[in-house]
Symmetry: C2
Subunit: 130 residues, 2 copies
DNA sequence: TCTATTGTTCCTAAATTCCGAACTAACGAA
DNA sequence: TTCGTTAGTTCGGAATTTAGGAACAATAGA
């Protein structure tokens, strides 16, 4: 298993951050990691916003967040501990992360919480494979 | 020619904004439109950050910015006038746009201005087509 | 050992992006 | 009117990126 790659803060780009956070699942993951005071393991996110996320996809999402410089991952035993790099990013790009997380909150607050029984109908149809 | 589509401000999403601005050419375009006091035509951006942008690509970039709700385009005669929708977005997502534009400035300031003679070597190699 | 748990890698299909070529639309001149 | 120019769009196909199932690797406990 390959060691985890984390960019130095000076190599972190706005483009990479915005791209990483332009995915609804990834912002949701990041918002929760950034908002928590203890590190989160990947498996805490096997469902995100009522939607199941396959673990291979989840792994890719975490890789994207790590390589954008948004989180730091550390393997501890069988699981991974993920923590935000907010402080570093704040020094490099003041106000960026909080504005994005805030906007995400505004948007989440704007749409009513999905009713459990109606949720299935709103879910994106699964893609069928060969 | 199809009429231009502009989302209502309430339909504008953080994800769409971040995705639109996660492209280096598009942030550069948007930063210039947002920073100018007069509207800008598309053809002003046939070269962006010393790099030529094919006009079909440019057209797609403007479409992406419009449909993300970041700019408003208006056809006047043969050309298009593009203006930012910063005020509306600021009301919906306070601080978001300015943080991103600021971050983009920080990043641009960080890298030294490319020397004209050396610029060609740093350009991304063009993809070869069939 | 064997088994369970957590996460990664591989592989292929689907989606997205890029950009040259062909096109449309507005304008001015003859 | 028709021709030519300019500004931008659309089309089509190749390249790139993404999604997720299956197989795998690594750790821990029994």
């Amino acid at each position: 298993m390959r060691p985890l790659f984390h960019p130095s803060i000076d190599d972190v780009t706005v483009e990479a951050i915005l791209h990483a956070l332009s995915d609804p699942v990834r912002v949701a993951i990041f918002a929760r990691i950034a908002g928590s005071d203890c590190s989160q393991s990947c498996s805490n996110f096997l469902t995100v916003s009522e939607k199941a996320v396959p673990k291979s996809t989840l792994s890719q999402h975490f890789k994207a967040l790590r390589e954008a410089g948004l989180i730091r991952g550390e393997r501890r035993g069988v699981e991974m501990h993920n923590s935000p790099r907010c402080a570093e990013i704040e020094r490099r790009f003041p106000g960026l992360i909080s504005a994005i997380v805030n906007a995400h909150k505004v948007q989440s607050a704007g749409k009513p919480p999905p009713l459990p029984t109606a949720a299935a109908g709103r879910r994106k149809a699964p893609r069928r494979r060969g």
